[in-house]
């Protein structure tokens, strides 16, 4: 009997606690919800993006906020999982009643969270999801980065023109919408310009052994190997490939961008290339200033592309908030976002088109000794 009483009290109190913690839709602060992978396999994505966003929020608050209201940043970790993204975004929208959402980096997780944002009328900006399907979810969903049809073409052209490759093999991460999409766009562009895809293999994000797939690829002798996946597996793949005696250079996309890439892949990565949103070597004074401030805040670490995109996403949102008549009115925020034109960010000039995408240039980076990322060329859309 005691047990029964104990159980019921726990249940009732929890349910009561729940209703109590429900926040009212107050307008004292402007609440920005952020969801990302702070833990899990692609943790650097979430952490870097968070740092960029936080820099913007702190700077704006230090200057007095917007329209006299402070910006409140509410950040939740989805552990790198799409299912958790659903509950976390639901929480941000219904419980914390945010006015705008920032997230996510991985297209799969953006796709999981976007329908909720769309349904509830909360505008959402993804800083780095490049798969075109994300903004197709609805008119509340925006992005500030380039999309994969463009990125795929950039990589294909680089392979054909700069590396003079005639044949390519692709190793896709089947768990990631980003990887599958980017692989498709690369293949289209490569074949359209006369290249030949000699092999296509796949793995599932989280795998650690790729020797089987690589062995098969080795037999087909491709000129280049395309790895449109995330840094966590790319590092391992490249290492195992070199162990197997594969000499071809590797090419990838912005999923490679992480300080941990070289830690995992090591010297096997030297001589490989990937496309990205920005380069540390960019001489633009705005970029240099951003890098300096980031280093001051974060232990002298150099910001990666994700941090830069997080920063720009934050800037674009703040710009929209300033332009909106009432920065706590979600519809107005959305409309202001849609009207963003020629906004100068750290990663380039951002104009939101009528598909709510941004048309931005990409840079090709080469991995040099000790993991340094060297700027090779810039490709405009």
């Amino acid at each position: 009997m005691n047990k029964l009483i104990k159980i019921s009290t726990v249940l009732v109190t929890s349910l009561v606690l729940f209703s109590c913690t429900k926040k009212s839709d107050s307008t004292n602060t402007i609440r920005i919800g952020e969801f990302g992978s702070m833990t899990g396999t692609e943790a650097t994505f979430g952490i870097s993006t968070h740092r960029g966003i936080k820099m913007v929020v702190d700077e704006v608050n230090a200057q007095g906020g917007i329209g006299g209201k402070t910006l409140e940043l509410i950040t939740y970790d989805n552990g790198g999982k799409a299912e958790d993204t659903v509950s976390v975004v639901t929480r941000l929208v219904s419980q914390d009643k945010v006015h705008a959402l920032l997230g996510e980096v991985a297209s799969s997780r953006s796709l999981a969270g976007a329908p909720i944002a769309q349904r509830s009328g909360v505008p959402m900006i993804t800083p780095s999801s490049t798969n075109p399907k994300v903004t197709e979810v609805g008119d509340n969903i925006f992005r500030v980065c380039f999309t994969d049809p463009f990125q795929g073409t950039v990589i294909a052209k680089f392979a054909l023109d700069e590396l003079e490759a005639k044949t390519a093999a692709v190793l896709v991460d089947k768990r990631s919408d980003y990887s599958v999409g980017l692989a498709d766009f690369f293949k289209q562009a490569f074949k359209a310009k006369g290249g030949k895809i000699v092999d296509e293999q796949s793995y599932v994000g989280g795998d650690i052994d790729f020797k089987g797939q690589l062995t098969n690829m080795r037999g087909k002798n491709p000129d280049v190997i395309i790895l449109p996946g995330y840094y966590t597996e790319v590092g391992l793949i490249v290492k195992q490939a070199r162990d197997l005696g594969i000499k071809a250079p590797f090419l990838g996309g912005d999923g490679w961008d992480s300080p941990k890439l070289f830690e995992i892949g090591g010297p096997s990565l030297v001589g490989s290339y990937f496309s990205n949103h920005y380069s540390v070597e960019d001489p633009d004074p705005m970029v240099k200033d951003f890098i300096k401030r980031y280093q001051a805040l974060y232990n002298n670490e150099v910001p990666d592309g994700l941090a830069a995109m997080g920063y720009d996403a934050g800037l674009v949102l703040v710009d929209a908030l300033k332009r909106a008549q009432d920065p706590t009115n979600r519809k107005q925020i959305r409309d202001a976002l849609a009207a963003t034109k020629n906004f100068r960010g750290v990663t380039g000039v951002i104009t939101i088109d009528d598909r709510r995408d941004a048309s931005k240039p990409a840079v090709m980076l080469k991995i040099a000794e000790a993991g340094a990322l060297k700027f090779v060329k810039r490709v405009d859309p």
Binding site: K3, I7, S14, L15, A82, T90, Q95, P115
Partner: protein, 325 residues
């Protein structure tokens, strides 16, 4: 009470509770209650096999996955063939939901037969591992079917499950399982649990009895899965791992293997606990929810393996009190 009165009474309860849940709670608590409801169905059905029939199945999430994906495919691919309004029109979508639940449950039950017949000839640990294996195979199989999203997940499922459906699902599942326990097949299950050799000696086919309980459990797991699919509107194979099977096992063990009310209470408790701890997590930054979960389980096994209610139901507590009074 005549059957008609009984069922109309149930219908009223379902509508009242459903209304309370939909309107009395905020959005976020609702999602938790919904998950709790789904977990109740899973725990109660698993208890039928693990608790009442004494067979240790560790692949319950696999059947849930089958029900989820079949139900979702039904509404996304099949229903539109009958016309576009079947998932959008308010009245017709109810029928879609019902048929999705039934389809999900039936196919899960069929898979249950497929898995059960070979597996249930094994005993104890081996049965446990084999069911684990089957659960994983089902998941990996789903992972590789591109047309239902594969590794990237199944999106675009219409959200036609609401609190009414979930409450209805919970109540109907509990009633069914409760009645099964009281009936002759139920007695057979318990006979197998208590002394399989004796049951065999009495001329009953223990394999057939075990498969029967297994299939019924699989059916309800499928129903839970279909509800899950249409509530969250997104499915990913990585939800239906052994970890989830284990969470359900934990609920059954905590509640008491052999006590239905125990499973209900434990499922509610653990689901709510997990979410309540997420609140605490934002203050301490340590995600110790699962650590706590595992610790609770170990402590129960060491100190009170019979769980909360052992093999008794909640009302025996009241009966005892009356006796002693």
């Amino acid at each position: 009470m005549s059957q008609l009165r009984f069922w109309s009474f149930q219908a009223i309860i379902i509508f009242v509770l459903g209304w309370l849940a939909s309107n009395g709670l905020g959005d976020y608590p609702q999602t938790i209650l919904a998950l709790a409801g789904i977990n109740i169905i899973l725990a109660v059905s698993l208890n039928l096999v693990n608790g009442f029939t004494g067979q240790f199945s560790m692949g319950h999430a696999g059947f849930m996955a089958v029900g989820a994906y079949v139900g979702a495919s039904w509404t996304v691919y099949f229903m539109p063939l009958l016309g576009t309004s079947w998932t959008t029109d308010a009245l017709l979508s109810q029928f879609s939901m019902l048929s999705a639940l039934i389809m999900g449950g039936i196919v899960a039950g069929l898979i249950g037969i497929l898995v059960g017949i070979p597996s249930l000839r094994l005993k104890g640990d081996y049965l446990a591992i084999v069911t684990l294996g089957f659960g994983e195979i089902i998941r990996i199989f789903i992972l590789n079917i591109e047309s239902i999203g594969g590794a990237r997940g199944f999106t675009g499922i219409p959200r036609i499950a609401n609190m009414y459906w979930i409450v209805g699902g919970v109540i109907l599942t509990c009633i069914f399982i409760f009645r099964i326990i009281r009936s002759i097949p139920g007695k057979e299950f318990m006979a197998v649990r208590d002394d399989e050799t004796a049951t065999q000696a009495m001329g009953l086919s223990t394999t057939r009895i075990k498969v029967r309980s297994f299939v019924i459990a699989a059916f309800f797991a499928g129903v839970a899965g279909a509800l899950f699919a249409h509530y969250y509107a997104y499915l990913n194979p990585s939800t239906f791992t052994f970890s989830y099977s284990f969470q359900v096992i934990a609920m059954v063990v905590l509640g008491g293997m052999g006590s239905l009310s125990g499973s209900i209470a434990a499922a509610l408790l653990l689901t709510v606990l997990l979410e309540v701890l997420r609140e605490a997590q934002t203050y301490t930054y340590y995600d110790f929810r699962m650590v706590l979960y595992a610790l609770i389980l170990i402590i129960i096994m060491l100190k009170r393996p019979s769980g909360l209610f052992g093999r008794k139901e909640v009302w025996t507590w009241f009966a005892r009190k009356k006796e002693s009074a």
